[in-house]
């Protein structure tokens, strides 16, 4: 008996896409932040259009809630106190790899009666995940590798084509059908994702003790939010609850400073 678990139709990415859809008029895409500067009255953020980086632009607001992942934020000039600056630099990000493999037919269902679930291996691919949806519908995509640690770093050091090839090579030890049925593949190495430079923040008991409160505290007119500013690291839930908490604290601060609630 398993606890009922649900996933969004189309995958977890659909949650972010839904936020994007609902907030589309408020979001400016392709904006690479180059400088964050606060004074007594507000915050000015400088940025460039990442497709046309020549032209510097800026926006100004009363407050700034910043959700930029820490490896990126650590490199952006920002006038905050030493405690927050040290906290931002104190959180290493984990290496992780996922490889998606599309096959011409769902041989795991047709030949092996596997409908969803995971195969754990001691191979460099770590595990294989089977889709929990679209049963018996022709083509299918397997999670052909989901890796942390040293082997994830080694996969990161390869080209995307090599990663897909290695996932095929090792996965075919489990499912010989791989060779004949392979259609297409895609690989993600989180350290190579330009806007995160890593999968998620890795805290230690020691760094939590030293830096966590400083990371979450409002510094003048700037506050951080994201999975890195939560105890649910690496999860969408941590990112959302962190933002709700930060918004609540910002609101209290504003009201305390005389804004109308």
């Amino acid at each position: 008996m398993q606890t009922a678990l649900f996933q969004p139709v189309g995958g977890m990415g659909r949650i972010g896409e839904a936020f994007g859809r609902e907030l589309s008029s408020l979001i400016r895409y392709n904006s690479k932040v180059t400088d964050i500067h606060q004074d007594e009255h507000g915050v000015t953020v400088k940025f460039v259009d990442s497709r046309n980086p020549g032209t510097a632009q800026s926006v100004r607001a009363d407050w700034c809630m910043c959700t930029i992942p820490l490896p990126v934020l650590a490199q952006i000039p920002m006038n905050v106190g030493t405690a927050l600056a040290q906290a931002i630099a104190a959180v290493p990000y984990a290496a992780a790899i996922k490889v998606g493999l599309q096959f011409k037919r769902r041989f795991w269902e047709e030949d092996e009666d596997i409908y969803g679930g995971i195969t754990y291996t001691d191979l460099p691919i770590s595990n294989i995940g089977y889709p929990n949806y679209g049963f018996q519908s022709g083509k299918g995509v397997l999670l052909g590798a989901y890796i942390w640690g040293l082997n994830a770093m080694e996969f990161t050091a390869m080209t995307p084509q090599e990663r897909v090839q290695k996932a095929l090579d090792y996965g075919s030890q489990v499912h010989p059908q791989y060779r004949k049925e392979f259609d297409n593949g895609v690989a993600v190495a989180w350290h190579r994702v330009p806007f995160t430079m890593g999968c998620m923040g890795m805290w230690s008991s020691d760094s939590r003790e030293k830096h966590y409160d400083d990371l979450c505290k409002i510094d003048g007119r700037i506050v951080l939010a994201g999975e890195h500013a939560s105890f649910l690291g690496g999860w969408q839930e941590g990112a959302v609850t962190s933002s709700l908490d930060a918004i609540q604290r910002l609101h209290q601060r504003m009201v305390a400073q005389g804004a109308k609630s």
Partner: protein, 158 residues
Amino acid sequence: MNRLEAMAAHKLAAPMWVLLVSIAAAGAYADDASFTSRAGVGSMTGAEIYDHICSGCHMAGGQGAVGAGSYPKLAANQKLVSWEYAALTVLNGRNGMPPFGLPANQTMEARGAHLSDAQIADVVNYVRSHFDNHYKTEVTGKQVAALPHPAAALMGPQ
């Protein structure tokens, strides 16, 4: 299933039927030079460490990379004049870079990799004498051992 695997399973969401297959024994990929087993980490040389680990971000030839932030170019990098700076960075990490000086028995939890002091010396020597860097001093494991190491294991999702 250990805790890490349990978390990974949860993250994949909604396993309706879970299949457990035990594949071969340790060393099943010993003949593939692309990957290092947990037991094999300790024998990696400086050059292997660079190719297998560092180059994922710092790229081939130490050329670095630029996205929203950047991975420093190690080629002809003047900061490498200080071997201590390089060794401390590998030991403790820097700005999101994972630390490699965690105790070996804590790397599972940290989702990282452990390198010995001698290996850290080796990779520092490798980088300082390649990619258009020409520093002559050879660092030893003993010198690296004298530098501050990370205090405690890193923890992922709880």
